[in-house]
């Protein structure tokens, strides 16, 4: 039987493999991070660095811990009972689990887009303005400017500018997810975590989200969990492959998809298991 063909990484102008990672600074430093839910260990001694203004993709079969790791970066795991965390996550040099770190400020600086689009049952305008209002922005002109800018940034403005007062739930699935992205970037986070943001969308809506991610990369550091190999190959600079709670391989996306060092990574990215 012939060797499976590795997925080719489409060449994009202005970028060659491994360059962006080397050129930018590390922003998230994960240091021997382990996490368990009760008796169930979800993450095992994970250590690696995520770089600034780079798209990092987390790939791996379901249940490998990639979403759990993502939720460590904005401490969403705090919401779950019986979670035990060992090791540390440093963001911009600070241990985010230390008692000195205000979790509210952390979440303002580390935004999140969820797998299932979850607009609030409020108007489109109020969805985007929500985070700003929490921060005490009250002047309508400030809010209007920020809402427009965020919706433009999320490539949604032209579709919704005439119906900002209507419900966010009246939008299509792809529009809802872009609304959630607009809502997340409205408060200008430094890092944007995306947990399978396109998994519930059709290919056209997915393509729009992917374009958006490539565009947002100029301003934000993006960490994205995806089940879609082609998507990881298309949009990410760095890829981390997880299996059973362990980080198996981490490197430039080109290397992971064309010449992985581990057999398991190769099997997964070529679709032989997972």
């Amino acid at each position: 039987m012939a060797d499976p063909q590795p997925i080719t990484v489409p060449a994009r102008p202005g970028r060659f493999i491994g360059q962006s990672a080397a050129a930018s600074q590390k922003l998230i430093h994960v240091d021997r991070l382990s996490l368990s839910y009760g008796q169930n260990q979800a993450l095992k001694e994970i250590s690696f660095n995520i770089h600034e203004r780079v798209v990092t993709a987390f790939i791996g079969p379901s249940g490998c811990g990639k979403s759990t790791l993502l939720r460590c970066f904005n401490r969403m795991n705090d919401l779950i009972d019986n979670v035990r965390i060992d090791g540390a996550v440093h963001i911009a040099g600070q241990d985010i689990n230390s008692p000195e770190v205000d979790v509210i400020e952390l979440r303002r600086r580390v935004g999140m887009v969820f797998q299932k689009s979850n607009p609030f049952p409020k108007s489109i305008f109020e969805n985007v303005a929500y985070g700003l209002r929490l921060q005490g922005v009250q002047r309508l002109s400030d809010l209007q400017a920020a809402v427009e800018q965020s919706l433009r940034r999320a490539a949604l403005w032209d579709e919704v500018k005439d119906r900002l007062a209507t419900s966010g739930l009246g939008l299509s699935g792809g529009q809802q997810q872009r609304l959630c992205i607009a809502r997340a970037i409205a408060i200008k986070p430094e890092i944007l975590l995306m947990d399978e943001p396109a998994s519930a969308l059709d290919p056209i809506a997915t393509a729009r989200i992917e374009e958006l991610i490539l565009d947002l990369k100029k301003e934000f550091t993006i960490v994205i969990v995806t089940h879609n190999m082609q998507q990881a190959a298309r949009i990410s600079d760095q890829t981390a492959f997880f299996y059973l709670g362990q980080l198996i391989e981490y490197g430039s996306t080109g290397k992971i998809f064309t010449s992985p060092s581990h057999k398991r990574t190769e099997d997964y990215v070529t679709g032989r298991f997972g």
Partner: protein
């Protein structure tokens, strides 16, 4: 010539037969359901038939007059007002306490921690306590303990009794305790129906838990909370036992004008008319009409709450 269909040599379907067992099953269950309608019609029909002839605007808009057992000259305004007042005050008391408990259980408490289980057990047991026990509890706790305590605190040097006696406030508070479980349970259900994703989205944008509860969770839960209020009102409006020792009066010359006054109550008045009247036959028309007014009032109080809920739902639906 035979039709091409009948020439088929494969096994034929058996002919349908009348199934007596299913017929009997359907008929029995349908009869049981009909019985419910019949009972309701008998109750309502009897009361309307005998109560309506004496129902007049004068009857519901005047006081008891010189003989409260004579249908031709007595009125029941004090009882209508008393019942309405105690139901409204009860709603004001029970909603904040019940909603707060439900918020604690769904948003803060750990699922299945010993403390949560104790609260849940308490709620369920409270729902099973007979209403006369609530009446005795109210008399002991609110009237004697809280009321007398208040009197002692407000006027330590005089032996004044202001709060330490049966009163509108204590009757309403006793009813609030009785209806607490239904408000807690319905509110909790509506809070649990709100997708977890909305809470996570709010927290991920830097909202505190309290901000998330007030800005995202509670606005969604208002119809459910109002359903709890409707059920509480229906349960409390006709209850007599809880107010027997806590505020309802046999007879009062004046309307109550403060929370620490006693009041006349429609349900209690029905009890008085049916047990204390010197001449039962003469009082019977009055009894029927009073019961009719009690039914209409309970219904009306429910309708108000249902209209409020419908208005809130319409506003929420605009956002769906």
């Amino acid at each position: 010539m035979t039709s091409p269909h009948s020439s088929d040599s494969r096994a034929r379907f058996r002919a349908a037969r009348f199934d007596w067992a299913s017929f009997a099953g359907e008929a029995t269950t349908a009869l049981a359901a009909l019985l419910i309608i019949a009972i309701l019609l008998i109750i309502l029909g009897d009361i309307i038939l005998h109560g309506l002839p004496n129902l007049s605007w004068r009857f519901v808009s005047t006081g008891t007059g010189s003989d409260m057992f004579d249908v031709r000259q007595t009125g029941i305004l004090p009882m209508v007002l008393g019942t309405t007042a105690r139901v409204i005050i009860m709603t004001i008391l029970v909603l904040p306490a019940g909603v707060a408990t439900a918020i604690y259980l769904t948003e803060y408490a750990r699922l299945n921690s010993p403390f949560t289980r104790v609260i849940r057990g308490a709620v369920n047991n409270l729902a099973g306590v007979p209403s006369i026990v609530f009446g005795l509890f109210g008399a002991g706790f609110f009237v004697r303990f809280v009321g007398r305590g208040l009197d002692a605190a407000l006027s330590p040097h005089q032996a004044l009794t202001v709060w330490g006696q049966p009163a509108l406030l204590w009757a309403s508070a006793t009813l609030a305790v009785m209806t607490l479980p239904v408000v807690i349970v319905t509110t909790e259900e509506s809070l649990r129906a709100i997708p977890q994703g909305l809470r996570e989205a709010s927290l991920a944008l830097g909202a505190s838990k309290l901000e998330t509860v007030f800005k995202i969770v509670l606005p969604q839960a208002v119809p459910g909370i109002l359903t709890g209020a409707i059920l509480a009102v229906s349960r409390a409006a006709g209850e007599v036992a809880p107010i027997l020792f806590t505020g309802a009066a046999y007879y009062m010359a004046d309307l109550p004008h403060s929370l620490h006054d006693q009041f006349m109550d429609l349900g209690y008045h029905v009890f008085i008319l049916s047990t204390q009247a010197p001449n039962i036959d003469q009082t019977r028309p009055l009894l029927y009409t009073t019961v009719l007014v009690l039914l209409v009032l309970t219904f009306a109080l429910n309708i108000v709450a249902i209209f409020v809920r419908a208005a809130v739902r319409r506003r929420l639906r605009l956002l769906q």
